[in-house]
């Protein structure tokens, strides 16, 4: 009974965060802000759903697999965001015009793919 209550709360909370990730990806004005929604809300949402599955079955094998999935999502979601963000700068994805500043603009070397740092400007 208590178990079912816990499972229900985690399921609804997790899927609600994933729903917010969906809304976010639809409404946010540019790519980087959409990635905010998918990495954070997607990670916690999938994590909560997997925790709910582990709580429902209460079995060592299932718990091990759900923990593996959670750990994997925690490790990979930010890495995927980094890879896509980096690619976006190479492709030249238009960003929101209300951005306050963009330190990364023109920092990538288009030929060598080396990323410089802000100190480069100070040198002649």
């Amino acid at each position: 009974m208590i178990n079912d209550l816990l499972v229900s709360v985690m399921l609804v909370a997790g899927t609600f965060f994933m729903f917010l990730a969906g809304i976010g990806v639809l409404r946010m004005p540019d790519l980087l802000m959409r990635m905010h929604a998918t990495t954070k809300a997607g990670t916690l949402g999938a994590g909560l759903v997997m925790l709910a599955v582990a709580t429902h079955f209460l079995d060592a094998g299932v718990t091990a697999r759900t923990l593996a999935i959670i750990l994997f999502i925690l490790l990979t979601a930010p890495v995927a965001a980094h890879a896509i963000g980096r690619a976006a700068y190479f492709v030249g994805v238009p960003l929101w015009d209300k951005m306050l500043k963009d330190d990364l603009k023109n920092r990538y070397d288009p030929d060598t793919h080396i990323l410089g740092n802000p100190d480069d400007d100070k040198q002649p």
């Binding site: 809300a41 979601a77 930010p78 965001a81 980094h82």
Partner: protein
Amino acid sequence: MSPLSWNLILALIWAAVTGNFSGANLLVGFGLGYLILGFALRDVPDFARYRKKVPRLFLLLGHFLRDLVASNLRVAYDVLTPTHYMRPAVVAVPLRAKTDGAITILANMISLTPGTLSLDVSSDRSVLYLHVMYLDDEADLRRQIHALEDRVLAVLE
């Protein structure tokens, strides 16, 4: 051999002696092994450092979980309010962590904390580029990242 592998061996021995290799029992064995190592070998420098690292790891995990929940509430707020309140920016933050592992963990934790998303590390590893949702005070942002970096480095180095 490193203190961590000693501790793992003690956990395995505990599981073998009690005849129960379930995850919970291994955790109990790990905890007991940590107490024994921390007490019996407190004069050995390696083990003394190890004794301090484990609580820091749990502190880091606790901060991380709190940040993850907070960042989701923040995303929920962002998604449901009009977009014109947002002040996004890409900011360069100086980086002190030098090893691949420390930078990866720090960047992942930044991505999962409120309002920030790590984009890339400069090729000379001196700067981390972040995307922030609300840039109110750049100095304050740098301070937050600095504090998080301190907690990561306390565990890893």
